[in-house]
Symmetry: C2
């Protein structure tokens, strides 16, 4: 008999609140405040924040404070580029694996999505979009790839972006159509095409998001282009050429 491990850790709890937007990007996360909120001392809070820092969800400025990560526009572009890579690869792997349980679930998902779009049930569609991409990753059969993917989506505040895009752009039917096409080539076990189509799909959703952000002025989720602490994001020696042109969607 297995022990119950439904015990939510503080780390999971804070992570969830960041993902759901309870803690606003850029805002400070005071250790003392969190300690009081969770009714523990600062020690476990600090450990949780350090974990989240390693995941890239918060930024620690030594001797100053911890802040919810707010990606710059450039970083959002980079994260979407990585998303394109990971999901494209997952689609290829899925297609190459042939008839696996996830395939049936994916078909079911697409059926429900068409229904939700037809009924203008946007809430359910948002949910189904998440499930679709989750199923693709699961179908790739690589737990490390899936772990990277989820870490990435958290950094991107992807849930909020999907919500925003679905609600503020008319792209739902087009997006649903793309999901359908990808499913078809996966069924046909055409890994090459699956990867290409998935990359196109992610790029299109990226572009749609950027347009929505442009028009709605929802820059609040983003960090101002000139970040005061650009080096605090990574432990590695990433200090390569700084001449990154702030290109828009490629």
């Amino acid at each position: 008999m297995k022990k119950k491990k439904n015990q939510k850790t503080i780390t999971d709890d804070i992570r969830s609140r960041i993902a759901r937007g309870v803690y606003i990007p850029g805002s400070a996360l005071s250790e003392a405040a969190l300690a009081e909120e969770f009714e523990v001392s600062r020690t476990p809070i600090r450990e949780a924040l350090k974990q989240l820092q390693a995941e890239g969800l918060v930024v620690v400025r030594p001797r100053v404070g911890t802040f919810v990560f707010a990606p710059t526009r450039l970083e959002v572009n980079e994260l979407f580029e990585v998303k394109e890579i990971l999901e494209g690869a997952a689609a290829r792997l899925f297609a190459n694996r042939g008839n696996i349980p996830e395939l049936e679930l994916l078909k079911e998902n697409v059926r429900k999505s068409e229904h939700a779009v037809a009924n203008q049930d946007l809430d359910q569609y948002v949910e189904l979009v998440h499930e679709y991409h989750d199923l693709i990753m699961r179908g790739a059969g690589n737990s490390k790839l899936m772990h990277l993917y989820h870490t990435l989506m958290n950094q991107l505040l992807h849930s909020q972006f999907v919500h925003l895009t679905v609600r503020s752009s008319g792209r739902a039917p087009q997006s649903d159509h793309e999901h359908h096409s990808i499913l078809e080539v996966i069924e046909a076990r055409d890994g090459n095409t699956a990867e290409r189509l998935m990359r196109d799909h992610v790029r299109a959703s990226h572009q749609a998001l950027m347009e929505v952000l442009e028009f709605s002025g929802q820059g609040s989720l983003l960090n101002a282009a000139s970040s005061p602490a650009p080096e605090a994001l990574t432990d590695f020696d990433l200090n390569g050429p700084d001449n990154k042109q702030d290109e828009a969607v490629k």
Copy 2:
């Protein structure tokens, strides 16, 4: 190319020691022992270990101890699959960016590598292999991608594997030839081919490693305990497969 940072954090230090094999995979990392070794109290040690847990370099078994991550054979395969994906994508991005400073550095690297192989200077060749792959990632111009890559390589204990492969297999000339071919198609700005060749290259080096491990019986870097079935990942939590290894010993 080593920059010695004056303010090296404990986290970086432990990470480096794991990467270099000072701390053996699977061995216990006692907080008290580390605290004494670094001449600090247990508190900063605990925070460092929690960060490394989030990076996947150590595994924490609650109330028991912290252990250096030792991937199973399945996990090594998964990690190499992800490596193939990331490096392939980086090669494509590099090729698409055209004439960037990294291109000249890459040419220089390949020149030196040929020389090292001709002179049987394996130590230098190992170093150049690392530089080559680093340059590819840098040339992709995506800091998030590079960060993921480095995290992955740490989990893989990649440095030690490269060392082992270069020394124990005769693949150096072949590997060097592949590096050369990839450079050529990058110069020709052929992103598609660059991605394909890089994936082939990573897969070949993976295979070479597995053969070396098979013959040399160097299983010490791997975890002998077989991981639970991949289906066990269905109950996904954001901490990933970290705590999936609770043995049901009754």
